[in-house]
Amino acid sequence: MIEGAPDPGLYDYHPYRDRPKLAWPEGKSCAVWVAPNLEYYEIDPPANPHRKSWAKPHPDVVGYSYRDHSNRVSHWRMADVMSRHGFPGSVSLSVGLCDHHPEVVADGVKRGWEFFSHGIYNTRYSYGMSEEQERAIIEDSIETVQRATGQRIRGWLAPALTHTPRTLDLLAEYDFTYTCDLYHDDQVQDVKVASGQLASIPYSLEVNDHYGFNVYGMSGREYADCLIQQYERLADEGERTGSGTVMCIPLHAYLIGQPHRIGPFEEALAHIAADPRCWKARAGEIVDVWRAAQ
């Protein structure tokens, strides 16, 4: 990005009308990828002057234990529902989870999920990091996930969505394929980086379960309806234009895996899975098909 400029220069303007044709495998019109956030939040993280970790003095019992629900209870509910309807996960991973609760990561590996980095912990923010520190968390992420899963990570979602002006350039330098940090499009797009190349894959804030439940206050049934409407529109558009669209379903087990929400969510996923226009994909393969067509 252009540091300090009013337009950060992340990408060129590219109108949605008359986009180039893009064919997803087997003629599908909408690539749907599910992005479970497998996170670890520290109970007593060091302070970052740019952002507070917890609302209360440590230990913030509700804040911490609310998120720990994922790793004790709800991960398996969410993962099983995904597997049952044929959706692999592309995991936004606090890589520290590989050390703390390797069983949770191993469950994703067993299900054939792809992993990308969401930082070391969701309580360590990139704001204020030196280049050396930022390189350290990237290298740590690559090594930790390689060791735990055998995969070389190809993607990045900044820890707690905290960035520096150099993050995207560094990702390209370390040969990452995609970032999930930009929300400007419903299709894969190129990101301008200092060297090499980097794609932006649509992740989503608007249909993120965090927004659904904790920003918009939806019920589980309302959120399920919202996923179906989002999917139907994107599939219609991809079918009509011949330019494949992308829908991401970003999840947090501690939210979607609550007992009053998981049932309606399963119904929405079953609906999407049964639609012949749906390509159930991992993030990396979506970007690969798009890149090959450029």
Binding site: P59, D80, M129, P259, R261
Partner: protein, 309 residues
């Protein structure tokens, strides 16, 4: 502002948690728990009995539901008191109508101020859980240890003096604890806390304290007051939760199943309103008709779980 080099060092990065309160475990892989009479879902009704002084102290923080306007905040003071004068009596009637017993997490000040209410709660066989002194008595690590100890001692002794009951359970205001709370609770002979929301079954801390989970997400405060759903919408969510838990209890691809818990946290000034209470009554009618349901106070669920450990 740059960060110190320690910011990318992780002294607690290790297998297990970054703290020593309790061990990690996957709920679905534990030895299945069996509730009485072959029931599979323990439904725990827990009502908070709160007294908000009109003079909030904010030490260390202001409790959810506390005063909002400049002093004197008649609006919030009286609306909260409505719960203790009117709303909770509707709840007591609703419980009696379905012959179910609940837990009442009670500020010591409520027991002292409203003896008729406590008498009715006990007469119907409900459980009393300690819930601090009043809604000014919040806890965080900023509270000095001696003050926190005194607060817990005071809560228990005043509650016992007013009700004749020595509670086994503790609910902190806003479930907020300090680093010391777990040890202070066991020091006072308490058996369980309801503050940690990371599990859906009881589990044991390393110091012997048990956490009996009272899910914030399923509370009327979260669903009705914060997320602004109707009482009927809330009741639908409770039914959805029950259905999922009853199915999960039978076992599936990720769990051998076993008893599950559905905690329903109720607030008299929220769910006890005339236009909402009917949704609670209907929910109770529906749940008591479910063959999987064991509707029981927290102490009974705790005792049943404990004897199987």
């Amino acid at each position: 502002m740059s960060l110190p080099s320690e910011y990318t060092e992780y002294p607690h990065r290790r297998e297990g948690y970054d703290h020593d309160y309790y061990k990690w475990s996957n709920m679905h892989a534990r030895k299945p728990v069996q509730w009485p009479d072959g029931k599979s879902v323990a439904v725990w009704l827990c009502v908070s009995l709160e007294w908000f002084p009109i003079t909030p102290e904010d030490k260390p923080f202001r409790a959810p539901g506390h005063m909002v306007t400049p002093y004197p905040d008649y609006r919030h003071y009286t609306v909260r008191d409505y719960g203790n004068r009117v709303g909770v009596w509707r709840m007591l009637d609703a419980f009696k109508a379905e012959s179910v017993r609940a837990s009442f997490a009670t500020n010591a000040a409520v027991a002292e101020r409203y003896p008729e209410l406590i008498e009715a709660v006990l007469a119907d066989g409900h459980e009393i859980i300690a819930h601090s002194t009043d809604m000014n008595s919040t806890i965080t690590s900023e509270l000095p240890e001696e003050e926190e100890r005194a607060l817990i001692t005071d809560s228990l002794s005043r509650l016992e003096a007013a009700s004749g009951v020595k509670p086994q359970g503790w609910l902190s205001i806003a479930r907020s604890q300090s680093w010391r709370t777990a040890d202070l609770l066991t020091e006072h002979g308490l058996k369980y806390t309801c503050d940690w929301v990371n599990d859906e079954l009881p589990y044991c801390f390393k110091n012997g304290l048990v956490n009996l989970p009272l899910n914030t997400e399923l509370s009327d405060r979260m669903i009705v007051a914060t997320q602004q759903h109707s009482a009927e919408g809330w009741a639908q969510m409770m039914r959805d939760a029950f259905d999922w838990l009853a199915a999960e209890a039978k076992g599936n691809d990720y769990t051998a199943g076993g008893g599950r818990m559905l905690p329903i946290h109720l607030t008299p000034y929220i769910m006890g309103l005339p236009y909402r209470i009917g949704a609670l009554e209907q929910l109770l009618t529906d749940l008591t008709a479910r063959e999987e349901a064991w509707i029981a106070p927290g102490a009974d669920i705790f005792a049943e779980w404990e004897k199987q450990q």
